[in-house]
């Protein structure tokens, strides 16, 4: 029973990290109506950027975010302008291919620079733990959780309390209408992609400290992230957060109750069950016409 409780707590803590990564992905979908299959690769890219920074100037992985998040944000503006904006027709299908190509390109470049050997970000909090009742939790999970909460909070503040946030939400609701009331939809899209990439950088740091990764790690990540945003309902930030917590808690509990090799399988089982009952996901709106 304690094992299950421990797994549940760990699930919530790691769930926070996945909530952050998934909300970036769902934000990108919501604003641009594109499925960013490259989001996992962006997380891995963020992790490698932090890895490179810690290796060259030797600062703490969490502090590298002050460098990597702005860099990733700017890179996001560029990628969106060059690769996503030119897609005019059949956006949804073509965007899958384009972002997939981006993922392959990032994987290839990272493999070329860093080789395919596994690496991991290092910090004192990774091995040090504190006791909670009868078990211990490594500090890194708590730090990661707090960081993700802070960034999610900042994201919600921008979205719901600023004028620019209103433009983003308006674009998510109805792109054409947003254009009609004078919102620069292209600019909003670029910034949203940038925000998505910056959150991927933050998620990447926590991912990189808790797991060993290599350039090919993005496949595993993207299948989880996509499952999460479908479960939550595409384009719903609240949905992404709730779904991430559900998924990670059930995964960690399965891991101790059944077996670690079946843990990821729960993801897909939950997805199938939810889709049978609610094809639009937990917080989604039923799609009647093509988005």
């Amino acid at each position: 029973m304690t094992l299950v409780l421990e797994a549940a707590i760990l699930g919530v803590l790691t769930g926070g990290v996945y909530a952050l990564m998934a909300s970036g992905l769902t934000l990108i979908f919501g604003v641009m109506r594109i499925i960013n299959v490259g989001h996992g690769a962006l997380v891995v890219l963020g992790a490698y950027l932090s890895f490179a920074v810690t290796r060259s100037i030797g600062i703490d992985p969490f502090l590298t975010l002050f460098i990597t998040m702005p860099v990733m944000f700017l890179l996001g503006l560029v990628l969106q302008t060059v690769f996503i904006r030119p897609l005019k027709t059949d956006r949804e299908a073509l965007s899958v291919l384009v972002t997939y190509a981006l993922a392959l390109g990032i994987e290839g470049i990272l493999g070329y620079i860093f080789t395919t050997n596994y690496v991991q970000l290092k910090g004192w909090y990774e091995t040090t733990s504190f006791p909670v009742g009868s078990f211990r939790i490594a500090y890194v999970y708590v730090f990661g959780f707090v960081l993700c909460l802070a960034i999610l909070g900042a994201m919600f503040f921008v979205l719901y309390r600023t004028t620019f946030g209103s433009s983003i939400r308006a674009t998510m609701l109805n792109r054409t209408a947003a254009q009609l009331v004078g919102i620069d939809v292209d600019r909003v899209s670029a910034v949203a992609f940038g925000i998505g990439m910056a959150t991927a950088a933050a998620g990447g740091v926590v991912f990189g400290i808790t797991t060993a990764f290599n350039p090919g790690s993005h496949y595993d990540l993207i299948s989880r992230l996509l499952t999460i945003i479908v479960l939550g309902g595409l384009g719903s930030m609240r949905g992404a957060i709730v779904a991430a917590l559900i998924m990670l808690v059930s995964e960690d509990i399965t891991s101790v109750v059944v077996s670690p090799v079946w843990a990821s399988f729960v993801f897909f089982v939950i997805l199938v069950v939810v889709l049978l009952v609610r094809p639009q996901g937990l917080y989604g709106v039923r799609v009647r016409d093509r988005l």
């Binding site: 059949d90 949804e92 073509l94 291919l97 981006l102 470049i109 479908v230 897909f268 094809p279 093509r290």
Partner: protein, 335 residues
């Protein structure tokens, strides 16, 4: 001869020529390096054609067809292992059984996946693929898990080894093309196109959309499963990450997009162009990870420059050219 009749003669003649070359290829270029490329290219002709039946006609983009590919491969491998079939030509006879098994799986998957649409469907198919990969890895007793599954190795040697596989792939590609042509020229095919254009209106005018979508999905998956079976027998050893490979799934999609979504010849053209290019890149730059970057670049250029694909763009150009010729023709006779 009228221009239309001349065009038809050209079309039929061209098709016959391509078919003759495809048939005679192992005799024309018998060295194993070439026939190896030919086997893989023909495999992708089949895969792209099969994917197009679902993705091109109904507009439902499946990125999970690599799952069916791997499933077919495992089915044939397990059948051969449990029946103790000797290597040789006999395993090819069991390929339809692998297709049947894949069709049953596609029925089950399609039944829930097709409740979703557009973006959600894409993601569900990706999730299905990874689920299958995980199953292949975890059901160690059945599939051998990460250790992989071996096929019997046929006794053919040297220049001949690739030839039977080439013809097997050719037969499957032709079956795919025939099926695609029949569907495109049937009421069923019209229904699929109506689903692509507007699913709700199609339903409203009486197209049984759920049954049509599911049928297209099953046909498409069964073909891919059979091709996967032959592939497994060709490479003689498979393991989960290798045969349920997202890159295989995305390659067939890219080929269809390059050639022209929803056309019959487009997927063939896309495969004939892209697969040799991909093999060349992998052969020359495979050691470094650069080949992924180069492949991604090809990918991006294709989509950003030719978002509609070669065949639709070319036929547009042809139509405009013909209209221009028709407009200037009367003027020419007056002179």
């Amino acid at each position: 001869m009228s221009p239309v009749a001349r065009l038809n003669v050209l079309k039929v003649g061209g098709l016959l020529l391509v078919f003759a070359v495809a048939l005679a290829l192992p005799a024309l270029a018998p060295d194993p390096a070439t026939t190896n490329i030919a086997v893989f290219t023909m495999m992708y002709v089949g895969l792209a054609t099969a994917w197009n039946i679902m993705g091109g006609y109904t507009g439902y983009i499946s990125l999970g067809h690599a799952g069916f590919f791997g499933f077919g491969s495992y089915c044939l491998g397990l059948l051969l292992a449990h029946l103790g079939t000797a290597a040789g030509y006999a395993p090819f006879m069991l390929v339809p059984l692998a297709g049947l098994a894949t069709a049953i799986l596609a029925f089950a998957v399609g039944w829930f996946a097709l409740r979703t649409r557009a973006a959600t469907f894409v993601i569900v198919t990706i999730a299905f693929m990874f689920m299958l990969q995980l199953l292949a890895e975890n059901l160690v007793g059945l599939t051998g898990g990460g250790g992989g599954l071996s096929f019997p190795v046929p006794p053919w040697s040297g220049d001949y080894f690739n030839t039977p596989y080439y013809y097997a792939m050719l037969v499957l590609a032709l079956v795919g093309l025939g099926t695609s042509w029949l569907i495109r020229h049937s009421k069923f095919g019209l229904g699929l196109l109506a689903i692509r254009d507007d699913e709700d209106k199609a339903l409203a005018v009486g197209v049984p959309t759920p049954a049509f979508k599911l049928t297209a999905f099953i046909v498409s998956a069964a073909l891919v499963g059979m091709i996967g079976g032959v592939y497994g027998y060709y490479v003689t050893y498979i393991y989960p990450q290798f045969v349920v490979d997202p890159l295989i799934g995305i390659s067939m999609v890219l080929m269809v997009f390059l050639g022209g979504l929803g056309t019959i010849t487009g997927p063939v053209l896309g495969a004939l162009i892209l697969e040799p290019a991909q093999l060349w890149l992998a052969y020359n730059y495979g050691a470094s990870r650069l080949y992924l970057v180069l492949y991604a670049a090809v990918f991006l250029v294709v989509i950003l420059v030719l978002p509609r694909g070669i065949v639709p763009s070319a036929s547009d150009f042809l139509a405009r050219w013909r209209a221009k010729a028709a407009a200037s023709a009367p003027a020419a006779t007056r002179q």
